[in-house]
Symmetry: C2
Subunit: 132 residues, 2 copies
DNA sequence: CTTGACCTTCCAGTAACGGGAAGCCCTATC
DNA sequence: GATAGGGCTTCCCGTTACTGGAAGGTCAAG
């Protein structure tokens, strides 16, 4: 398969697939004309990466996951640990966003949002509301 | 004030403050020795930016907020609209994270996490679970 | 006079690609 | 055979919002 085929099959842009080759995630062979030649195994790997990325794993985490995936002796505990680490990262981000959201929603709610210049949002940014 | 003073007062690293000057967010004067000279107004602006950044506004959104902040004729509706746009961005990110979290948590829960190689997480990444 | 803390500029790197240029390859059509 | 098109190649720059580090000027204290 050429890059266009795996691109369509995996849903990944060709640019992204070339990038993954650059950083050593996949290593397609080349045909005589210099075109990358992909096998089903390559496609499988790319789909794996696409799904892991879709779950928010970083490229380096994907690299580790792929290595574990290809290691028939791996312990599932290793995979689980990585997944749990990532789960914790997600939770941390969600908590951070929730904090922002709370504060921002408060400010928005206080703002009349009319033609007048008086704006509690800007006031809140200029001097944070102290709950004391 | 020198950059170290505003850095400490605003909580922003000196590097970041220089960067903000680079991109035109602030424009301190220079003293004879070439050092940046900051006023209370500069510090005020930096603190404003720091808080807006803390709420997740992008640099460009901060630039707009600053412009609105310094425009005595602005309508609070403009500020509110920007804040609501950002609120929607936050909500979108939270929803995306929640989706990831759900799927990942499901996989993690199915994984024994022991010394054996059998791992539902890797299986799930290799071929997504279809709910059909 | 030297030491050390501060300040300056500039260059490079981060994550994970995306855009676009310049140019080769292959097939189809006229 | 010439050409048009689409796909492929490499290469380099741009993105966001900084951070790290090198090389060197400035200033106050001992």
């Amino acid at each position: 398969m050429n890059i266009g085929d795996v691109s369509e099959a995996s849903g990944l842009p060709a640019k992204t697939i070339r990038y993954y080759e650059d950083i050593g995630l996949i290593t397609p062979l080349r045909s005589d004309n210099g075109y990358r030649q992909f096998t089903q195994a390559h496609l499988h790997k790319l789909a794996f990466i696409a799904r892991a990325r879709g779950l928010g794993f970083s490229i380096e985490q994907c690299r580790t996951l792929l290595a574990l995936y290809e290691d028939r002796e791996r312990a599932s505990a290793d995979v689980k640990a990585l997944a749990e680490t990532h789960l914790a990262e997600i939770d941390a981000k969600m908590a951070e966003l929730a904090d922002m959201r709370r504060t921002l929603a408060d400010l928005v709610q206080c703002c009349a949002g009319d033609h007048r210049p008086d704006c509690p949002i800007l006031k809140g940014l200029a001097a944070p509301v102290t709950g004391d």
